[in-house]
């Protein structure tokens, strides 16, 4: 039986469900990528250790749930300030020294950080796959012929809220404007009396807080292990480039596009080839629209 045969009710349901899956999966990608687009967009630093902060967030959720039975949604309250501090410390210890260095130095420094964090996790918590099983993970909501997993719905809602909050923060708060201004012209920002080092520190801390929160939220959906972040980091770069540098709303849309490509590709051509689709999309976008699908032309070269 060919899945592409004429549409019957079952096929219509399947297509609707694929749409739902795209949206929910896109939400997860957006959650993870939004911190990256902030850091990459404002600081122009390629952070290869992004996935490792996600992994740490997942472990935080795991231990809180295992030791004290705390639901990840409550952990979130602690995770955001905690990872904010983690981001500050990482910035001061590692990133500050390379913020003006060449991209090569930045790439390989963060790569070192990634190896370091992965193996700290391995030594501290072993390589076992861990699971977080809050009650809401096994709740499936049904509407029409489609099904929503409650945890995923919540993750999606929070992704949207987080994105909207960050967009609003960047757009309407003075600090957000300061961050964007610094990304666009560091010297001019200094002339406005802006302490750019402080801006970078803050940007990094917010970005890490966002990805730490993402880790807490996706922990129930996936398994927790030291290299859990790897599978998301390349994907996040695809999302960020698609959405346009530093464009949170773009990242959300980029996430949905990647998810759509993945879901539709998996369904039509087989799950086997899904990476091929989004990596080719990635290369094409890089070559033909380096500012991203929605970014303003030229914005990707600013401050680079």
């Amino acid at each position: 039986m060919d899945p592409a045969r004429p549409l019957g009710p079952a096929q219509i349901d399947a297509v609707a469900q694929l749409g739902v899956s795209t949206i929910l999966l896109g939400g997860i990608y957006a959650l993870i990528a939004v911190g990256l687009t902030l850091i990459f967009g404002i600081m122009r630093v390629v952070n290869f250790a992004h996935g490792e902060f996600l992994m740490l967030g997942m472990y935080l959720a795991f231990w809180s749930f295992t030791l004290w039975r705390v639901d990840p949604y409550f952990v979130l309250v602690v995770a955001i300030p905690l990872f904010f501090v983690v981001g500050l410390v990482t910035y001061v210890l590692v990133m500050k020294g390379v913020i003006t260095a060449s991209h090569n130095v930045q790439i390989f420094t963060t790569f070192g950080l990634s190896i370091l964090l992965q193996n700290v996790a391995l030594v501290a918590w072993s390589g076992d796959f861990r699971f977080v099983r809050p009650w809401h993970l096994s709740v499936a909501l049904r509407i029409g012929g489609t099904t929503f997993n409650l945890s995923q719905v919540v993750a999606f809602v929070i992704a949207v809220v987080l994105t909207v909050a960050l967009v609003a923060f960047m757009k309407w708060t003075h600090t957000g404007r300061v961050m964007r201004a610094t990304a666009q012209d560091r010297d001019a920002a200094t002339l406005m009396g802006i302490d750019t080092d402080r801006v970078y520190r803050l940007t990094f801390a917010i970005g890490i807080a966002a990805v730490g929160a993402a880790g807490v939220l996706v922990a129930p959906l996936y398994s927790v292990y030291p290299t859990a972040g790897l599978q998301f980091v390349l994907l996040s770069y695809v999302v960020v480039v698609l959405g346009g540098l530093g464009d949170m709303a773009g990242a959300l849309i980029g996430s949905l596009i990647v998810a759509a490509v993945e879901v539709a590709g998996s369904y039509v051509f087989g799950i086997a080839w899904k990476e091929i689709f989004y990596f080719l999309l990635f290369i094409l976008v890089l070559v033909f629209r380096p500012a991203g699908l929605f970014g303003q032309r030229g914005s990707e070269t600013l401050g680079a």
Partner: protein, 420 residues
């Protein structure tokens, strides 16, 4: 906290100890042990090492090997290059004459090649690559069956046990294959496909592979399979992918008659049950014996050693042996038997001892028997495997029925909410 302090002191001391050690002490026999302890395979490598350590202690409590205390020279094999390189180190620096390893097929191939070139014995306890023993390497042995064996058992179970209970002939069964794309998953899946088609004429609906490290959503494949409507899903999962598939199948109300897996990863790991609780009910995984296993079905000598092994594992880990333990530990036990019989690690005499070994099924741990082929592969039919099923948070032994007190339930799998 105290533990940590001790550990760190030990670590600090070790920093000052040079990498080389004296040759084998009199009264000790040093074995090279090569497992992936870092990188993406670390979680399973650790389990294998644990199994080896447990059986090492058992051996030492029972007179050691060849009258000597068994010790390990341990090495980490993250990737093929490192596996080969560390095999070299174990051989030339640690002076080992036998290497035990290595869990993964990508590692055992490279490491055994090195051992063979040094005329050192390579004793493989798990990697399942069917080509492993077909390279004409004289000193390479494997105690565990290969992927063909796993595929063979899985299809055997489906055709001989499940089909009758569905009231279907094997050639009426519609089967969908899904697998992660590692050497293990692909090896097992391809051999199962072959036997299912050629021997039983089962109807293959789909075969799909995926990379388990990048799989984030199984819904598309679930929907696709749902439309194909298979009786059996043959899914080799690795970790999270198994949990994801099962959870999303439930969400999509994907109904099939049975899901069969093989090996200690994915559905065969304790994590699967932990992740899903009672929702895991009904999944089959081909493994070494688990709860429900009738010790009495074994031969007397087998009963004793199996019981001792379980107790030792219980003592060390506080639980029933896991798949990793059950491949590595019993493999090491067989090595002891051979060494004691040969009285030497000299390859020719060792080989003669291996070849002369002929133990029937049920005479050692896991109920295994021993009969090595000329290529150094333990016979598939002697390495008895068992079908286990998730029942209320536990993987219990359900097949072959003569070996177990438990029976397979939920055949066919009913609606998702009625598998309690």
């Amino acid at each position: 906290m105290r533990h940590r302090a001790v550990a760190f002191t030990a670590l600090a001391c070790a920093l000052f100890v040079s990498g080389t050690h004296a040759q084998t002490l009199s009264g000790e026999y040093k074995l090279g042990v090569l497992e992936p302890l870092t990188g993406p395979l670390a979680f399973e490598g650790k389990r294998h090492l644990e199994g080896l350590e447990i059986v090492r202690d058992m051996i030492n409590e029972r007179g050691g090997v060849m009258g000597k205390k068994l010790t390990f020279a341990l090495a980490d094999a993250t990737d093929p290059t490192v596996a080969a390189s560390e095999a070299n180190r174990l051989i030339t620096r640690e002076g080992v004459k036998i290497i035990v390893g290595t869990f993964s097929s990508r590692l055992c191939g490279a490491a055994s090649e090195v051992a063979a070139r040094h005329n050192v014995i390579y004793w493989e306890t798990s990697c399942v690559d069917p080509r492993f023993n077909k390279r004409g390497l004289k000193t390479v042995y494997r105690t565990e069956i290969d992927a063909t064996g796993f595929g063979w058992y899985n299809v055997e179970f489906i055709a001989k046990h499940l089909a009758p209970r569905f009231n279907l002939r094997p050639n009426q069964l519609k089967i969908a294959f899904l697998s992660e794309d590692s050497s293990y998953g692909q090896g097992v899946t391809e051999s199962a496909r072959q036997r299912a088609k050629q021997e039983f004429g089962m109807q293959e609906l789909a075969t799909d592979y995926y990379n388990f490290t990048t799989i984030n959503d199984m819904t598309p494949i679930v929907l696709k399979l749902k439309q194909l409507n298979p009786d059996i899903v043959h899914h080799i999962g690795f970790g999270n992918d198994a949990v994801l598939f099962w959870r999303q199948s439930k969400e999509q109300n994907f109904l099939f008659k049975a899901l069969v897996h093989a090996g200690a990863t994915g559905y065969g790991g304790a994590d699967f049950g932990k992740a899903l609780g009672n929702d895991a009910n009904g999944v089959f995984a081909l493994l070494e014996p688990g709860p429900g296993f009738r010790l009495e079905a074994l031969r007397p000598e087998g009963q004793k050693i199996e019981r001792d092994f379980r107790e030792a594992v219980q003592k060390r880990t506080g639980s029933y042996p896991l798949g990793g333990h059950q491949l590595a530990g019993p493999g090491l036990w067989l090595l002891k038997i051979v060494l004691d019989r040969a009285g030497t690690d000299e390859p020719d005499k060792f080989n003669a001892a291996v070849m002369s070994l002929d133990l029937p099924v049920g005479s050692t741990m896991n109920g295994w028997g021993v009969k090595f082929s000329e290529t150094g592969q333990n016979a598939n039919e002697r390495v008895q495997h068992y079908m286990l099923q998730w029942q209320n948070g536990q993987l219990v032994t359900v097949w072959p029925e003569e070996f177990t007190t438990h029976r397979a339930k939920w055949i066919p799998l009913g609606p998702w909410d009625q598998r309690k």
